[in-house]
Amino acid sequence: MKLKLLIIGTICSIAIYSCKKEECHECHYEDANNDAIELGEKCGDDLEALERDGYTTGGVTYEVHCHEH
């Protein structure tokens, strides 16, 4: 019985190795000089809004990139 529980426990532990977390990513935009300006880590709704709407500063809206190629 103990051996059976140990084996089941081992398998279940391996099986649930990865947990689902809210996605967060480092985001940046490229200014007029093509320099990357970091915006820091963004998560959830903030992340979605930035990707969809871009980042506006000084009256200019820049496309935001939140992933690394």
């Binding site: 398998i11 279940c12 391996i14 990865s18 996605e23 990707e51 990139h65 992933h67 190629h69």
Partner: protein, 739 residues
Amino acid sequence: MKQSILILISLFLLVTGFSQAEGVVIDVTTSEPIPFATIYLIDLSTGYIADVDGKFSYSNNFPKNLKVQVSCVGYASSIQIGNTSNPMDTFYLEPSHLQLEEIIVSSPSGMLQKQTIANVESRKISELNVLPSNNLMEAISNIPSVYQQSTGTGISKPVIRGLSGMRVLTYLNGLRIENQQWGGDHGMAVGEIGIGSVEVIKGPSSLLYGTDALGGVLYFIDEPYANRGETNSSIQSKFDSNTLGTNSTIAVKSAGKNLRINAFANYTNHADYKLPNGNYAKNSRYTQMNGKVSVGFNSKKWVCNLRYNYLHNRIGLPGHSHAPVNSVDKFESTEQSRERTIPAQLISNHYILWQNKLYLNKGQLSILLGHTENRLTEYDEKITVPGINMNLANNTYNMYLNYPLFAWLETTLGVQGMFQQNKNLENATDNLIPDVSSFDNGAYLLVKSGYAKWNAEAGIRVDSRSIKTIQSASYPEPLTKQFNSFNYSLGLTRDAKVATVRVSLSSGYRAPHISELLANGIHHGTFTYEVGDKNLTTENATQLDFSYEFHSEHLEVSINPFYNHIRNYIYSASTDTMIEGLPVFEYRQLDNVYIMGTDVGIHYHPHFADPLHIETSFSYLHAYDDNNDPLFRMPQNRSISSIKYEFDSKSKLRIENLLVQYQYFLPQNRVGINETTSPNYQLVNVGVNALLDIKTPVSIGFGVKNLLNTSYIDHLSRLKNIGIQHPGRNIYTTLKLKF
């Protein structure tokens, strides 16, 4: 009074409908009972185990004339038919030193595999996974003439005799699987859980399967239900060192008198795979969740199964870059990760199938109704805004009547079709193909006859496909097309004790897919800009297939040459132009292409070494067009050899078998325009399987894939042009607990 009569009638029916009877399995040479023989009711996917006296009890509530497979270690298994008056009574088995080839009933045709005209290769998944594979496609690529076209380790597409994509159909228990398979990076959408066996039909097979069955058909069949009156469950897990990956499955099976259920659940998680040079292929990580439930029911005249399957994948797309010129080191990393990133594919599949078989006074009527739903979302540039977001809904029907017209002539009359809708969902930045609906309908007639060792078969079929696109901003001009086709099949087989000879002529057709007609955009998954042609016409193929199989007690030899002629062959042609930094590929058509080749197989089991099995197979392919130019993306010719030793220990912890496999892929120097050649390579895989035989048995597996840490890129790999190698050495362990 009326109520009393009704009750009496009901009781009478209850008693007679569910009466208990007894059967027995007997050794035909000694007339002695055979203990613990297996009696498997093929149409019901369940059966019985005889007791120590060779007897088994059964409730007489299933259709008569069922095909029953009776087997036991030390005996030649056989397929027998229940007679009309007493379906289950006495079965006889003949002793056999060893049976090299299992007797199999081909699911699509219902005939013994050795007697079918079509060259159907049937394999149990457990046999293909003696050396466990990472996925189902990798397992079946051990079958001669079957290859895989991969994009990293998370995406694999089937290739049969050089043909893939929309030319290879996938069926799951009779349900046609549609999952945007036109895409080079859209892998096979069948999870491995609960799959018992696969049947591979090689070459054009439109007679039974309709449009798109040009290269062949993969027909997957679920594991059978538990034996009647039993409930059993298992939990298993596999760990791979190369990807720090886990693959875990829970299974429960229960079968009563009339009702039976199978349920499976699986979770798989792999990090980026390790290359032979010690680096990791960036973003080759993937996860998968798979769940499956099947419920079976039968009465005296009706067998029914209701099956549901859910499959969800998140797959990284390695080799992605926007730079005009890349070096392979940009796609490698010194660190291994499984964190979610982009580009990635998110794919969800729902499959529902209702199978019915009605047993008439003469003949059987089968009705299969199915629905599949495939959601494909690709995140390329943005983490929350998809590049591609499509939903493909497919409704299928398949009805056929098997009817013995005369004692010597059986006919099958069938109708088959599907209604499909593809829809681009909101928020996607690209619409690679338009919203479209298509409607397929087909009708066929098949006649079969047999005399002594001979079987003959012939059939004809007519099909129609209509396609209609829906107007949108990306595709302002609607397109309506209709494609019709006539197909046929005829063949002859002679099945003797020592040799089986089979010859067949079959045709197939494929209507151009909407992606080939109207593509006009970037396909990030294949690193190309694709352009369609709305004037493409139907592809048609005719194949001549011959096979000779020699079988003795210790040796089996098979040879299977074929010749396939395809007219109006559609292909994606590389052009000299670039759009948005990606090479442009246009869909074009060749008048004629020819694909010929052969498979040769040998299975030797020496008389002096009972536990030893030596197998080898060689697959050869030669493809060309009217100018004798090679075709694009043809697989490397290869040989696969294995030596297996089966131990016969009685100890509680015992090794069951040891397997060494050697794969050799010849160079591919016959390449299309702008395609590069590929060198030869070889792989060595070893594995051992053991059993801890305690009250709850534990199966243990251990082995090494790519033992020599060979650096290689297969010719069909979609990462070939950017130089990303296949995985290096992988050490695996498996654990399976049955209770």
